[in-house]
Subunit: 332 residues, 2 copies
């Protein structure tokens, strides 16, 4: 049923090799021959068999998208991922690489990656959702599969990281609050196993310290509920707080609720700043002042970096850091 090179060759009265040369645009084919072959291909609806090409070249022309164990379940549902995928997709659009989303039976991504690679299904990997201390990273580095890790500083011949400047973003948020006259600024932190979370916390702490202010932190999860509970806790323990910086937008939304429940008016009685600039941030009332993270660009850069590595054989950059910026809305 499918048309092969042999059939094109037969129909065009040339050898298979000549067809191959035409397909691969090798400039050693006579013009009239080339045109004849091209029109025959067209006529027969010939498409080269990518499987055969890949087997021959020993390249799958495919980049694997892998989600780390720690977040496999929930990560795929985060809005963050949409932007990231858009970036990957757009960056690979005009290349002849495809994106493979393999959700292996295995719960540990390292063996999955190694297997996909050894089985020649993928040439490289973009790894998403890895926690700070995850041993996966060591294994991935050891496996020598060209890899770009999102939101983690890693370096090596085969591994590079792409992330945003979370620390500077947090610092900018806190500086803004300080400039607006706030001195009692609390921090609603998430868990401490996420690299970007640690950086945000550090940005808060450094800026507070640099201005001689005392840090007041509470940690928990990343959800709205966590933000609500944390905020209640903060308001109770430190009623003099005039501002709160939340490590994530949903937490900030929770903080908004807790503040309302406590009879505090935002932003007048209490300023609230979030982080990430999710779509949600602009939709709540009052609209959230928050730190914008260029997630889509992160995706673009990650894919571009990997494509470059695949064509040149080495990483031109091993630690890309994109800038963040504060988006001022109504909540602070």
């Amino acid at each position: 049923m499918p048309v092969t090179m042999r059939e094109v060759a037969l129909a065009a009265n040339v050898s298979i090799q000549t067809v191959s040369n035409v397909v691969n645009e090798r400039p050693i084919v006579a013009d009239d021959t080339r045109l004849r072959v091209l029109s025959t291909m067209q006529r027969l609806g010939y498409q080269p068999n990518a499987l055969a090409q890949s087997l021959r070249a020993n390249r799958a022309q495919t980049i694997g998208l892998v989600f780390a164990r720690s977040e496999r379940r929930t990560f795929v549902r985060k809005p963050y991922l949409n932007e990231l995928l858009s970036g990957f997709a757009d960056a690979t659009r005009d290349t002849d690489y495809s994106l493979l989303m393999h959700s292996g039976a295995d719960d540990d991504p390292a063996p999955t990656i190694r297997q996909l690679y050894q089985r020649r299904r993928i040439d490289a990997v973009i790894l998403v959702g890895v926690l700070q201390a995850d041993p996966v990273i060591q294994q991935v580095v050891a496996s020598a599969v060209p890899t770009v890790v999102i939101d983690l500083p890693v370096q090596g011949d085969d591994v590079a990281g792409v992330r945003a400047d979370y620390r500077a973003g947090a610092a900018a948020a806190v500086r803004y609050l300080i400039e607006r006259g706030h001195t009692a600024i609390g921090y609603l932190g998430g868990t401490l196993d996420v690299y970007s979370g640690l950086e945000r916390r550090l940005g808060y702490w450094e800026t507070m310290t640099a201005h001689g202010l005392r840090s007041v932190e509470v940690s928990g999860g990343w959800s709205r509920e966590d933000g609500c509970l944390g905020m209640m806790h903060l308001l109770e323990q430190h009623p003099n707080l005039t501002a709160v910086f939340a490590a994530a937008d949903p937490m900030a939304v929770g903080a908004l609720e807790a503040a309302r429940a406590a009879g505090r008016h935002v932003p007048d009685d209490l300023a609230v700043v979030g982080f990430n600039d999710l779509e949600l941030a602009a939709l709540v009332t009052p609209a959230l002042t928050t730190v914008h993270v260029p997630v889509y660009e992160l995706g673009i850069r990650a894919a571009e970096l990997l494509l470059d590595r695949l064509s040149t054989g080495h990483f031109t950059d091993t630690d890309i850091i994109l800038p963040t910026h504060l988006v001022i809305r109504r909540s602070a």
Copy 2:
């Protein structure tokens, strides 16, 4: 560098064929031979080359994920997609099929699909984001590529649809409002080119008509802004409305804003119901009463249906319709 069957055969002192038989778990190999081969494979770290297997079998073991032209740009960013992808991923997890997200250079998905298929990169397609009257569907049907289309009723030997019962969902929402005593219920519709949008509108209209009530509709886009503008318009033209049913959650959020701006208190002065039950719905104030759509299950069922078609050669079902249900929160 990579270990091949030949090397395993050599090391285990058997023929290549025997190794193949062991790999494919054919029960015609003597036990001791099989064990010897298995341990050799283990020792050498052998992994079969999927490319060679696929070339041989003429199957890519891959399902393509394709986004329709009309939404290519924006669709990928919708939260809807996350759930869907989770479903696809979970449903394929324990199979030996992978998911390919090819974002072809081409802006029209039909040629992209045909090409991927003819080039043997994919065995089947899940098509997302097709508009009601999109000619893509005809082409896909004609191309004979096994395909599942999300949110569109299509049938054929090679095409099946998977969708939710949007009409019943809308009807349930309107019935709920009527039961609560509302009779002047407006409809904030989105664009009329989306199948699920038409169904929602129909559900609204049918239910209103069945109760002898007059439909009041306004159409526009699907965004919060559109909802806000539409709501302002409705309140102006029909100040006696006591309830509004929005075709999508973001629109409902916009309606909430417009109502607030107009000095109407939700839900007391005005009831608002949304559609989709996005995460956002639970986060806004007041929390949205909305129609839940089982998007994750849609993804699961779509992938399962396609996998079944791939193994049996025919669709066991060509039009799967999952139920929706009303989630009652605060806004109505």
